[in-house]
C-alpha cells in the first residue's frame, strides 16, 4: 500500500525535502502544509532586497509551482497544523482536516521573539520574518520616516542598511554593549558600527527598551536610561523562537528546539524534524546545536530525506551564514563560540578583510568581509582541522589554506 509522508512547514527546508524525498525514491503520497498562503520562498532577501524594493515577490519563490506538480505534491498552503497525534500518526489542520501519515517531517521553522515591553502591540510596531511582515513595513514607509530598530543582530542591521539606503532616518537600539555581540568579535562589531554611522544610522548600545508609547500607533520609544526616540515605525529584531509547540504537545522531546538525532529523527521514530525548529547533536562541536541558517535547512532536508527512505546518513556540516549590509558582503563559516584568540587578515579600513577565530591553533570560524576567497578556503580548513600557523594566518598575502 502507498505510504504517506506529510511535511509541516513550507519554507527552505520543506522545499528541499520535497526534492530530496523524490530523488531518494519516495513514491508515495506527499503533502506539504504551510500556514502562509505562498509557495515556499527565500527568506534571506526579505530584510535586504525585498525590503529595499529591488526584488519583486515572484523572484522569491524557491521553486516554481510546476515543480510541486511534477513532484506529485499536494499543497496545503494557508493551512496551519494545529494538532499532532503521534500515536495515531495524524496531523490536524485548522480547517478540521486530519492527515494520516506514515512518516512526518516537521519543518515548522521559527518565529520572531516578541518584544516584552508595554506598548509592543501598538500600531506601527513590526517584526521581520515573512513576506507579509515586509509588505506591512513597506506599506508604512512614506518618504523620510523615523524608524527605530530594536536589536542590532543580523536582521536589525540588515534592516537598518536597507532603510538607510531608502533615505529614512534610522536609529538602532541594542541592549548589549556592541552590535552583533552574540556572533562576532569586538573588532567586527566596531567595524560594522562605523559603517552604519558612515551611512547616517545612529546606533545606541547598552540601551534597553522600557516601553513604546503612542496613541494607538507608536510615536516614541522610551528606554530604561530615560532616553526617548521619536518613531514613525518600529522594527523589532531580537532573535527568533523555534516553533516546537506542535511537537511538544505530542510528547516529542524538545531541547532548545525539537530534539533530533544525527539522522534528523525525533524521539518518535516516525517523526523527523529539520531546519530552524530543531536542535541536533554536533560531533564537530561536541554539543547539541540549533542553527538558524539556510544551508542547515537545506542540508538537514537532504539528510532527513535519505534516512526516511532507508538510506542512513548523518548530518555533520561546517555551518555557514551570510549577511549583506550596504556594499559589504559578510560571509561567516564555522561557529566561533569558545574561541580564545582572534587573528585579522587584512585591514578593516580597506573594507576587505577576514576575522579568524581560534582555540589554540585550531581554526573555529572565519568572518569574511568582501573576502570570498577566505570564506571558501575557511570551509575546507575548518572541516579538516589542521593546526594553524598564526603568523602566516595574519598575512593576507598567504592563502588561508596555506597558513598551516
Amino acid at each position: 500500500m502507498d505510504q504517506t509522508t506529510v511535511i509541516v512547514g513550507a519554507s527552505h527546508a520543506a522545499a528541499q525535502a520535497v526534492e530530496s524525498l523524490r530523488r531518494e525514491g519516495f513514491g508515495g503520497r506527499l503533502l506539504l502544509v504551510g500556514d502562509e498562503p505562498h509557495l515556499p520562498y527565500q527568506r534571506p532577501p526579505l530584510s535586504k532586497k525585498y525590503l529595499s524594493g529591488e526584488l519583486e515577490r515572484e523572484r522569491l519563490w524557491l521553486k516554481p509551482r510546476s515543480f510541486y506538480e511534477s513532484h506529485g505534491v499536494e499543497l496545503k498552503l494557508g493551512r496551519r497544523a494545529i494538532a499532532l497525534d503521534a500515536a495515531a500518526q495524524s496531523v490536524t489542520l485548522d480547517d478540521g482536516a486530519a492527515l494520516a501519515y506514515d512518516q512526518l517531517l516537521l519543518a515548522t521553522g521559527s518565529r520572531p521573539r516578541p518584544l516584552d515591553a508595554p506598548g509592543a502591540d501598538l500600531g506601527g510596531v513590526h517584526y521581520l520574518r515573512s513576506i507579509a511582515d515586509v509588505d506591512g513595513i513597506r506599506a508604512e514607509l512614506g518618504p523620510g520616516r523615523r524608524i527605530v530598530i530594536v536589536g542590532a543582530g543580523y536582521i536589525g542591521l540588515e534592516c537598518a542598511a536597507s532603510c538607510a539606503k531608502l533615505g529614512h532616518d534610522v536609529t538602532v537600539l541594542e541592549m548589549a554593549e556592541r552590535v552583533m555581540s552574540r556572533v562576532v568579535a569586538p573588532e567586527m562589531s566596531a567595524f560594522y558600527s562605523e559603517e552604519h554611522a558612515a551611512h547616517g544610522v545612529k546606533i545606541h548600545c547598552d540601551t534597553m527598551v522600557a516601553a513604546l508609547e503612542g496613541d494607538g500607533r507608536v510615536r516614541e520609544v522610551v528606554c530604561r536610561d530615560g532616553s526617548r526616540y521619536p518613531a514613525d515605525l518600529v522594527i523589532v529584531g531580537i532573535g527568533i523562537v523555534p516553533n516546537v509547540e506542535l511537537a511538544r504537545a505530542a510528547g516529542i522531546a524538545c531541547d532548545n528546539g525539537i530534539a533530533v538525532d544525527g539522522h534528523c529523527r525525533t524521539s518518535d521514530a516516525a517523526v523527523y524534524a529539520i531546519g530552524d525548529c530543531c536542535s541536533h547533536p554536533s560531533p564537530r562541536y561536541g554539543r547539541r546545536i540549533r542553527l538558524e541558517s539556510v544551508d542547515n535547512a537545506f542540508e538537514q532536508a537532504k539528510t532527513a530525506a535519505a534516512n526516511m527512505c532507508g538510506r542512513e546518513t548523518v548530518h555533520d556540516r561546517v555551518p555557514w551564514f551570510w549577511s549583506d549590509q550596504y556594499e559589504l558582503k559578510l560571509q561567516i563559516v564555522g561557529l566561533a563560540q569558545g574561541y580564545d584568540r582572534v587573528v585579522l587578515r587584512g585591514d578593516p579600513s580597506g573594507k576587505a578583510f577576514s576575522c579568524c577565530y581560534l582555540r589554540g591553533r585550531e581554526l573555529l570560524a572565519v568572518d569574511c568581509v568582501n573576502q570570498a576567497r577566505d570564506f571558501m578556503a575557511g570551509k575546507k580548513v575548518i572541516a579538516e582541522r589542521p593546526a594553524m600557523d598564526l603568523d602566516r594566518l595574519a598575512d593576507p598575502a598567504i592563502p588561508l589554506r596555506e597558513a598551516v
Partner: protein, 106 residues
C-alpha cells in the same frame, strides 16, 4: 525570449526559454535544472550555482567581479570557463547560451 541550454550533470540537454532581467541561475531554478542549487539565492555567498560556459559564449559575458572570482577560486572542480550563474544576467544577446552543470553538483 532568449533560449538557454543547460546540460545537466548526467548529460541531459534542457533547452529553456529565459526571461530577460533574471539571472541564468534563476532561469535554471524556474525550470528545475538539476544541479543548480543556489543555496544563497543569488547573493554570491556560496558556489552551488556553478556551471561551465560553453565555447565562445564565455567571452560574450561581462567579466566576473572580485567577489565572484574569490568564490569561484575555491569552488570544487573550477575551470577557466567556470561562472556562478547567479552573477550572469539574461540578455537578448544571450540567445543560445549553453552552460554545463558540474558533475559534482548532481
Amino acid at each position: 525570449m532568449p533560449r538557454i541550454i543547460f546540460i545537466e550533470p548526467d548529460g541531459t540537454r534542457r533547452e529553456v526559454q529565459a526571461t530577460v532581467g533574471l539571472s541564468v541561475m534563476e532561469t535554471a531554478l524556474q525550470h528545475g535544472i538539476r544541479g543548480i542549487v543556489a543555496t544563497c539565492g543569488g547573493a554570491c555567498a556560496c558556489s552551488t550555482c556553478h556551471a561551465y560556459v560553453d565555447g565562445t559564449w564565455l567571452a560574450r559575458l561581462d567579466e566576473p567581479d572580485e567577489l565572484e572570482l574569490g568564490t569561484l577560486q575555491q569552488a570544487p572542480d573550477v575551470r577557466p570557463n567556470s561562472r556562478l550563474t547567479c552573477q550572469v544576467p539574461v540578455t537578448a544577446e544571450l540567445d543560445g547560451l549553453t552552460v554545463r552543470v558540474p558533475a559534482h553538483q548532481a
